[in-house]
Amino acid sequence: MSSAQAEPELGLQKAPTGIEGFDAITYGGLPKGRPTLVCGSAGCGKTLFAMEFLVRGALEFGEPGVFVAFEESPEDLATNVASLGFDLADLQAKNLIRIDYVKVDRAEIEESGEYDLEGLFIRLNHFIDQIGAKRVVLDTIETIFSGLSNQAILRNELQRLFHWLKDKGVTAVITGERGSGQLTRQGLEEYVSDCVILLDHRVIDEVSTRRMRIVKYRGTVHGTNEYPFLIDEEGFTVLPVTNMSLVHSVTQERVSTGVAALDEMLGGEGVYRGSSILLTGTSGTGKSSLCAHFADATCRRGEKCIYFAFEEAVEQIVRNMQTIGVDLRGWIDQGLLIIQATRPMHHGLEMHLATMQRMIARVQPSTVIVDPISNLQSIGSNMAISAMLIRLVDFLKARTITALFSNLTSGDQNREMTEVGLSSIMDNWILLRDIELNGERNRGLYVLKSRGTNHSNQIREFLITRNGVHLRNVYLGPEGVLTGSARVAQEARERERQALAKESYERQRALSERKKRALEAQIAALQAEIDAEDLLATSEARDEDARLTRSKDDLQEMLSSRTARNVMNNRQGE
């Protein structure tokens, strides 16, 4: 009546619900001080939505609330929401919440003449004043239509009630069951004109999906899409919990993929922190092994990693990776690695996304691995998967979390076409492929794209050994790349050639050595000859001297024998 016009054009004040995601799509929550109709079929989560609005209001926004239950007894209510971690008894003891159970039983009540619902007003008013409530939930008020028969009175009273709630200035949530042809059975939407929210729970391809739509929200902008939501042990979550803008902070920091040779192929230093990596390959090409290396490398840096496994159980992954020398158990025990193994069919896509986002928000890892995303195809169309992954990638990028997504491709399809059209949202794309040659199947790896890095254009052979994953250069032969035993053979040939060369060198060396030695021998022989000649020469000289001395002596002798005769003269005369 009057207070509704309190702030006419000044923009609507809003009461945050505290429900994850909901306040984002409504830009702040429910219209403050006004009633909101939340309708949907049985089991769609109306009561939970209302209860979470109330409890979070009381706990997080300092707004106590009154819950008027027309359907469930306070005991049932308390039990139902206890699973969400709401302790109603405690909240009531702290005067934050009041629960009024209004029992309407047609069998017990007879009517005679005119009446009104003043009793309800009085009770509500009493509770509101008692705890200074700012929020009220009426769940589900239509129940009174089945308990009381005078429709004209009831409609009149409902209208009066909604006006009264506005006057009271409380933010109210009124739940209503979905009727045929209209939003609620009794057409409550006629009375609640400010905000109407429709909840829906449907099963598509045997997977249940919950959706929410804001049918009407007077005086404010709001998202008009159908938003998926889910209910789990932490309450109500409306997706997307992130906005879809392309504003992420980027970093120059590189992180290792855990395989040194791969880091080298990616410009020498691995991938950028916070980038996304798509790893595609046919079955058995070693996707999971590479994932394990990636996880291992993260944990080695002392950072946290969440590994979402859609194919294998935790123990199986741990065991299998043990055989290639990657010890994941140790990281799990240290709390650095969390392997979350679920079957895709376990939830719908939205539920998967939400559980992942929640876990990521809680653990705050630096790396997230999803192995493999292709398994999600069993529960959603390619378009839905693509939409989900875009949201997940955005969510991760906003937190600078490096992400690795493996994707199984079938053998015969074009390898460069990912089934879910993912390549455009991924920064790096590593392709693992079979190379069939000479009756063998070997693994090849190459980097198809890597945004912002000078990545290698080469194919490397991908080996899975007991000591982990190794990359080898492949040989290029006339028939193309050589891998596996062909490469081994090539390597053998290479070795042989080297051995041969070495041998011939050795032989050559020995030969020249021998030759040298022969020459040296020759030199020695010649030297000996020279020495012999020298010796001869010396002895001849000595003989000559001796002869000369001797002839001189002879002459002397002769002279002395001719005595004093004029031998001297004779001799001089000669």
């Binding site: 209004v102 007879e110 005119e114 009104d116 003043e118 009793g119 009770r123 009493h126």
Partner: protein
């Protein structure tokens, strides 16, 4: 509205009735008048009426599950019976309270 009790008569079933109202509204006044008339006509000397103003005692409304007003509750004889409205429909009121019309 004042609370009042009439002395029960001897013999036959006694009727202990509580009328819940909210203030002196047209409906409460009409309900009380109608109840008084019915009791005088059919239960003379063997009834008591207790009038409770829930506007003054909201906790009573909560405790006794009072939603619509006025509400008449037949405490005795058992079982407890609830009748809402200003009791302008005498037939229905008699039926609901299981009062057989005096012959």
């Amino acid at each position: 509205m004042t609370e009042m009790a009439l002395a029960p008569g001897a013999g036959m079933d006694k009727y202990i009735l509580t009328l819940y109202v909210a203030g002196q509204t047209q409906k409460s006044i009409a309900a009380f008048a109608n109840l008084k008339r019915i009791c005088e006509e059919h239960l003379e000397g063997r009834y008591s009426i207790n009038v409770v103003d829930v506007a003054k005692h909201p906790e009573v409304a909560i405790e006794h599950q009072i939603l619509a007003l006025p509400t008449l509750v037949r405490q005795v004889p058992k079982p407890i019976r609830k009748l809402i409205g200003d009791l302008s429909n005498t037939e229905k009121a008699l039926l609901a309270m299981e009062i057989s019309p005096a012959t």
